[in-house]
């Protein structure tokens, strides 16, 4: 036991000296911050209004009352449009002609002009978006500055969609489930299904890679013989190295959990999350030790290790027992049934026991020669 402790300490010292750990932690920090930056970018470009980014932008919109047509329908239309715009927080102003509205826009009194046609009931055909438009369709005038225009168009999207639903209903094609409440889910999903699994599993990858390198380096540099001629067995050396990798992984996971808490992210069942991360690190670092002992050189060990890691993660996602999913469900508290959780933990625990046993067998066989 003391010998193993010594190997472990030697290993940890080497890691600290090489500054390997700093790179590993930097990678994790980069992945986490990069993906959140990407998320913010995606949200603000693909769906800014529902992300609430434009929530405080409000502006006056001109509504031009069309000439001719059925005045009752027109009045109803104008009222509906103006109500929908007000619901979004915009300030509709009615104008009786397009010229007046354009003048108001020139003077900066309004930011956009909506000109509904006289007769909405006119049938139209939907062609692939062309450039010419028939007089029976709605017109929208926006400022020429494209950046500003795209923001305005984005904000007008909701009211226009609601108006579209109104027209559909009038034509006998009602849309259901409109006006549902709810909060934008993206950030929530991102934290629990991307960030937490990444932060909990990446230390496991690092542990695996470290074990492969450390063992392969001893073999290729012929330092393993020296180690073994000291009163150390192959068992002690391998387990010491695996234990060092594992302890680093655990420290990282605990640190990430603490940082997440500081950032106001509640992780449900944190001890279980940590346990699952520990099991994954165990499987990976011991699996890595097996590969390194079997293949002995870094080139093949790293390759086989990365390839089996890839295969294993693909397979586990395919089978529906992936630690990624389990971590997401555990940390957000959404395991469908307790029995499903027990099943998953049994599978992961079983895999760990299998890997431990396999490692013992491999050490025995290699040690015999």
């Amino acid at each position: 036991m003391r010998a193993m402790w010594a190997v472990m300490k030697r290993e940890l010292n080497a890691v600290l000296r090489d500054r390997t750990m700093i790179i590993a932690i930097l990678i994790q920090l980069f992945i986490a911050s990069f993906s959140s930056a990407l998320l913010i970018g995606l949200l603000s470009l693909y769906d800014p209004d529902s992300a609430g980014i434009y929530a405080n932008i409000r502006f006056p919109v001109a509504l031009v009352r069309p000439q001719g047509g059925n005045s009752e329908i027109i009045t109803a239309d104008m009222e509906a449009l103006s109500r929908l715009l007000s619901e979004r927080g915009l300030r509709p102003q009615t104008f009786s002609s397009l010229e007046q509205a354009l003048q108001a826009m020139d003077n900066g009194q309004v930011r956009a002009i909506l000109a509904p046609p006289a007769d909405q009931e006119m049938t139209q055909s939907v062609e692939p978006p062309g450039i010419s438009i028939s007089p029976g369709e709605m017109r929208l005038y926006l400022p020429g500055e494209r950046a500003l225009a795209s923001v305005i168009l984005n904000i007008l999207q909701r009211p226009l969609q609601a108006y579209e639903n109104l027209l559909r209903e009038r034509r006998g094609a009602p849309v259901h489930y409109t006006n549902l409440p709810g909060r934008p889910p993206t950030t929530y999903e991102f934290i629990y299904t991307v960030i937490i699994p990444i932060l909990m599993l990446f230390p496991a990858f690092v542990a695996g890679g470290m074990t492969v390198d450390s063992l392969a380096e001893e073999v290729e540099n012929h330092t393993l013989e020296t180690l073994l001629s000291a009163p150390l067995t192959l068992h002690t050396v391998v387990w010491g190295k695996a234990a060092a990798a594992l302890s680093l992984a655990v420290i990282q996971c605990i640190a990430w959990l603490g940082l997440l808490r500081l950032n106001g992210v509640t992780v449900q069942a944190a001890p279980l999350v940590l346990l699952l991360a520990l099991i994954s690190s165990g499987i990976l670092s011991m699996g890595a030790a097996i590969t390194a002992l079997v293949f002995r050189d870094r080139e093949r060990s790293q390759f086989v290790f990365s390839l089996s890691l890839l295969a294993a993660s693909g397979l586990s996602i395919g089978l529906g027992v992936s630690p990624v999913t389990a971590l997401a469900r555990l940390s957000s508290g959404s395991y469908p049934t307790p029995w499903l959780f027990v099943r998953d933990m049994t599978i992961f625990g079983g895999a760990l026991i299998m890997v431990v046993y396999a490692l013992e067998r491999v050490i025995d066989q290699v040690g015999r020669r």
Partner: protein, 568 residues
């Protein structure tokens, strides 16, 4: 050419020996056969796990997996009553929702006990007021809206399903609009079809092309590491072949493997093989270029692994980020910036959309440039002393810079170095941008300015400092001349890149503005001034380079800050 081929063939044999495809492998004594029973047991376990876990998602399920690979089953939804198909347990098309049928009593009770997050009873939707339930509602709302539009579109003719088309006209300031009936408009939007979908799935698929290239480059790196450690590289260097031939010879087999893998994946994903090769050849070269640098600078295995990990992460991030915005509704022509990444081209290819030659060259040229730079650096750096020297990283970089420049032409070298280093500066700044988003907004801009200035100053002054330290630049006049040329090289590179991206983006007016006098002369003076300051401080004082850099960086960022304040 024949030498290159000889080395290439040698490299294939080396690989084959390693993997025991041919006889004569060195000392591999562990028999894989002994592992066979283990593989068998593993197979049985996996098969039973498959039976236990239930279904394996098939290819038909891919739309269902959209957006939900990671969040599979994140939300629990109870349903009862008469529902459209897309809300039933059998018909739900979004893997995030675990849908279960409940009776009306069960639904209310489970919702209260937090066993489900939302309960849908026919047309009625019930939820709680806590975060989980509201977030689930938000996700459901989005999904149901999309599905309703699809349902309406399937059930009704288009003029009823999409009754509203809006003709958009952008008003140029001070210009009378073309009025009249049936007039032309700039754009037509259909409100319910307005938001474009994120090209998430396509980006993931196009990452499949990069994956084997990265894997194969592990071998390339390992090969160099091995020959560096067992000193076979030194033997090769003493043979009558050039370093370039060695690098090319070692690279060619792996590059061919990588391109074959790309072609295979193109066939598997139903893409066009020729087009895929055209898109991914510069990318492959770029990845190999970066992986060539890894073994040159590092000695221990652990270093190599983690540096490779870092490099893979960074390059993946660099490629994924722009591609995600392939369809974003960016103002003006800005959406073309997505073409910074070759994955955008792959996304277009997978969708069967077209792109122009310029859009193809936009990512390809910088990547090819980095490949060229890395090849040049490689040929200069492969020598006994540099490879085997075990020195601190900063020292190693300075040595590398020294080796890359030509002693006989100090001025030309410094200018070229500053010019050629631009793509790397640009890559680094992108990375810093990603990091800085972690900081609070008030600190973000400041740290961004500081970091950007620091990188720029390093890029411009390192060549000069190396000359000074080696005693090759001794007078203030020399330093000033070098600083001027370095600033000039940097400026040409910087503005060239900007011009390339801007002309891609908008009209030539902006390009002309960039090239006009004021836009060029002042930055040139500033670049020269700061670099000269750094050089002079190094020459005349005993301050360490780091301290000088920090000093110059602070000055530079203050200047940038004032410039920004003036502009805003």
């Amino acid at each position: 050419m024949r030498d290159i081929l000889t080395i290439a063939v040698h490299e294939i044999f080396r690989l084959a020996r390693r993997w025991r495809w041919v006889n004569g492998g060195a000392g591999l004594s562990f028999k894989l056969r002994r592992l066979a029973p283990w593989f068998f047991i593993l197979g049985v376990l996996l098969a039973s796990g498959y039976l236990l876990a239930g279904r394996m998602p098939s290819l038909r399920d891919i739309p269902r997996l959209r957006f939900s690979v990671l969040g599979f089953g994140l939300y629990r939804v109870g349903v009862s009553g008469d529902l459209p198909r897309y809300l039933t347990p059998e018909g739900v098309l979004d893997g995030r929702f675990q849908v279960q049928r409940v009776t009306e009593e069960e639904g209310a009770e489970r919702l209260r006990n937090e066993m489900i997050d939302v309960w849908i009873d026919g047309r009625q939707v019930y939820h709680r007021q806590d975060q989980r339930s509201l977030v689930c509602m938000g996700a459901l709302r989005r999904y149901m809206q999309e599905q309703e539009i699809l349902r309406i579109g399937n059930e009704h003719p288009p003029e009823i399903a999409f009754p509203l088309r809006v003709g958009v006209t952008y008003l140029a300031p001070g210009q009378p609009l073309p009025s009249g009936e049936g007039a032309m408009v700039d754009e037509i939007v259909i409100p319910s079809l307005m938001s474009p979908p994120t090209p998430f799935v396509e980006v993931i698929i196009s990452l499949l092309f990069i994956l084997p290239v990265t894997f194969i480059s592990i071998f390339f790196t390992s090969s160099f590491m091995e020959e560096k450690l067992n000193r076979r590289l030194s033997i090769l260097l003493s043979a009558p072949i050039t370093p370039l031939q060695i690098i090319l010879g070692k690279m060619i087999p792996y590059a061919i493997f990588a391109l074959i893998a790309v072609a295979v994946i193109a066939v598997l994903t139903g893409g066009n093989v020729f087009e895929a090769l055209l898109i991914f050849t510069p990318t492959t070269l770029f990845i190999f270029a970066i992986y060539l640098m890894v073994p040159l600078f590092y000695r221990t295995f652990k270093d190599t692994t983690f540096i490779s990990m870092l490099v893979t992460t960074l390059t993946t991030a660099f490629m994924v980020a722009p591609a995600m915005f392939a369809d974003a509704a960016l103002p003006g022509g800005m959406s073309d910036l997505a073409y910074l990444s070759p994955l955008t081209l792959a996304v277009k290819m997978l969708r069967g959309e077209s792109y122009t030659w310029r859009q193809y060259l936009f990512p390809a040229l910088p990547m090819a440039a980095i490949f060229g730079f890395s090849m040049y650096a490689g040929t200069r750096l492969i020598n006994e002393e540099f490879l085997m020297g075990y020195r601190p990283m900063t020292r190693k970089i300075k040595d590398a810079v020294y080796l890359m420049m030509e002693r006989e032409h100090p001025y030309r070298s410094v200018a070229l170095l500053s010019l050629l280093i631009i793509p790397m500066v640009y890559l680094l700044q992108l990375i810093i941008l990603a990091f800085s988003t972690n900081l609070p907004p008030s600190l973000m801009l400041a740290s961004l300015l500081l970091a950007a200035a620091f990188i720029e100053e390093v890029a411009k002054s390192i060549g000069i400092v190396v000359w000074i330290e080696r005693g090759l630049a001794t007078t203030a006049r020399q330093v000033f001349g070098l600083a001027f040329l370095s600033g000039l090289g940097f400026l040409i590179g910087e503005k060239g890149l900007l011009l390339l991206s801007i002309s891609q983006v908008s009209q030539t007016a902006l390009g002309e503005a960039i090239l006009s006098g004021g836009f060029l002369l002042i930055p040139l003076a500033v670049h020269t001034l700061f670099t000269a300051l750094a050089g002079l401080l190094r020459l005349k004082t005993r301050l360490p380079y780091m301290v000088i850099l920090i000093l110059v960086t602070v000055l530079h960022s203050m200047y940038n800050f004032l410039l920004l304040r003036g502009a805003l």
